[in-house]
């Protein structure tokens, strides 16, 4: 069955990966909803924009780096270099967590500047949009943790590249989504 499967998958995308592509479209719509709401609101009277915290530049570097490591992890997997694969996968997860942590620092920095839910509409948008994105990153970290534990489990020899490809696709997506949000907030505010 494995053999037939590989000949099949060379022609067609794996259904899981394909489903993820559609899910990406769906998540994109969610953020399109958020950011268009932001644009609509920012054109109304009484709008006070929020300055992006400096640490978010570091977040951007971290998540870009993590995209690179997961790309390398995929290559390592296809070359069957499992030790390297495991290191890279865990590096990616750690970078992802670091990203979330820097986001959190950014939030508390803003909060201390009296940009709270009650005080600032722009700030509320900012927290929610980036917060929902951070939740998506955490989802990705969980997926990576599953892959990671699978790679260490001695019971199963798991050489299918689909899970890591799917996870990689998702990871690149949250990365690109962040870059979009980052540029969006820089330009609109």
């Amino acid at each position: 069955m494995e053999k037939v499967m590989s000949s099949e998958s060379s022609k067609k995308m794996h259904p899981h990966k394909f489903t993820l592509w559609i899910a990406i479209g769906s998540i994109t719509m969610m953020f399109a909803g958020f950011t268009s709401a932001y644009i609509v609101k920012s054109n109304q009277a009484g709008w006070q924009p929020v300055q992006m915290p400096k640490i978010f530049f570091l977040s951007t570097v971290l998540i870009l780096a993590s995209s690179l490591t997961i790309y390398l992890a995929q290559k390592a997997m296809s070359a069957r270099e499992m030790a390297k694969y495991r290191t890279l996968i865990s590096t990616t997860a750690v970078l992802g967590l670091a990203f979330v942590v820097t986001q959190f620092f950014g939030f508390s920095e803003l909060w201390q500047q009296k940009i709270t839910f009650k005080e600032s509409v722009a700030g509320s948008f900012f927290y929610i949009i980036t917060g929902v994105h951070a939740l998506h990153v955490i989802g990705g970290v969980i997926a990576l943790a599953v892959l990671f534990s699978r790679a260490y489990s001695s019971k199963t020899k798991f050489y299918s590249s689909t899970p890591v490809e799917t996870a990689g696709l998702y990871w690149h997506f949250v990365d690109i989504l962040w870059v979009y949000l980052f540029v969006f907030f820089l330009l609109v505010s």
């Binding site: 037939v4 259904p15 394909f18 899910a23 769906s26 969610m30 909803g33 948008f125």
Partner: protein, 604 residues
Amino acid sequence: MSSEATHVQQQTLTVPHETHVEIHHGHHHETFLTKYVFSQDHKTIAKQFLITGMFWALIGGLFSVIFRLQLGFPEAKFPWLEMLLGEWAKGGQLQAEAYYALVTMHGTVLVFFVLTAGLSGTFSNFLIPLQVGARDMASPFLNMLSYWFFFTASIVMLSSLFVQTGPFSGGWTAYPPLSALGEASPGSKVGMDLWLVSMALFVVSSLLGGLNYIATVLNMRTKGMSMTRLPLTIWAFFFTAVLGVLSFPVLLSGFILLIFDRHFGTSFYLSDIYINGQALPNEGGSAILYQHLFWFLGHPEVYIILLPAMGMASEILSVNSRKPIFGYMAMVGSLFAITILAFLVWAHHMFVTGLNPFLGAFFVLLTLLIAVPSAIKVFNWLTTLWKGNIRFTPAMLFAMGFVSLFISGGLTGIFLGNSSLDIHLHDTYFVIAHFHIVMGVASMFGMFAGIYHWYPKMYSRYLNNTLGYIHFWVTMIGAYLIFWPMHYEGLAGMPRRYYKFDIWESFKHFGTLNQFISIVSIIVFLAQILFLVNFFYSIWKGRKVTTQNPWGANTLEWTTPITPGHGNWSGEIPEVHRWAYDYGKDGKEFTTQTTPVSADESKH
């Protein structure tokens, strides 16, 4: 999840149709729990959606009967109501707050739980793998999750009916500030929180379902099943899923902002509000913003409800006219056009809520454009029927009833689509009449048509025909008797959502008309009970199906065994050689999709 679950999933997923691997799902142990409860078989999940949907239809329908009693007989006392509803109907009279709660729940339940989950959840699940020739969905596990998210959403929504302050009562659209402020009304307290949680779960369920439907249609078709050979049902389910996947997330983002407004002091939707003489601190929000986010889903939602009914009606009309569907590509094209336009017309729900009138003009144009693909579809249905050798099965009657309702409800849409006419007609019974006929009842008819037509495939038994005919005629005549008079009331300016009209001299003469509508709605409700009896009785006691293809249809689901197991086909998945509509071709009554094209065959 258990390794067994992933095991099954791997198998059904990875076996391509060309291979000769037989799927015998008996080889691993199937317990009652995995077979009927946490099933990953798309056919069982479809039945779960259907029966949960029917439960909700009963509740939502009963609610409408109760508030129709209030509207028809505002002065009468019904002691049994107090027994049923307690505090809500003190002294046998429905309280105003309870009335609003019932109206809200009727809308929410019917739109989302019955006509979205119950309709596309049932038939997309049931028919997509069977008609495209797949063993199951792209991801049976996600499919199962989709149902259980819906089930959890149902439990949460149901529980909101029993909280002390009552369920949410601010209308199914949940506009802020009413929905955002707990102080605004009793229903906006914990009832609204439960409503939001339930709806968020529901959105997740819809998304999981939709992802699967799209992936299955695009990836899992059997050999020879090109996109243009797909039955129109599948095209309709496909576009429905696309609409859902792209619009539900926007609703979710609107809900997230609403949750923050309710509980975390943000002001996305709130500004300059006084409540009981107290000024609220919220500033800088806009209630219109919610309406944009809501209707960006809300309008596609109308088509999420309607497209499956259109697809099933197309299939059933063709099968029972014994004629090919007229204008197959035009049907697909018009579905596509409707899908695109559905995203571009949301603001026609907001003509009078403070939308820029200049912007309104564009939305009028785009809205009226929908008449074009809709008219194409109607024309094609009528020409499919034309000179057909029509078999008047209950399914066929419901499909024809669907076309009738779609025409009469669609025509009033042309009135409402004009922003200037909307100044007079908005929020009147004219709107109620319009959307109930074109979206509510018409889609219910599509659903009934689907149930009567595919019941033999679902349960290997037939529904009782006589009860089916009674059900059809009572519902058909009743639907028109209920909603037709509402057009007059609406043109006269009678507003919707009102508890009583006794202070208006101008609506006094509608008193008896309202009584008439209420009585008919009770009769129609009883006819639905008859249908439910028929449905459950026939599962166990109905006439058995003895032939594989009882309707003489061309599509693939009738090539499966009479009672298909998990995996659908016991042997190889059949190969497809032609489109699904070769009826009456070359003197043959029907030619199934699996019949190879012979050399001397004429072209279609």
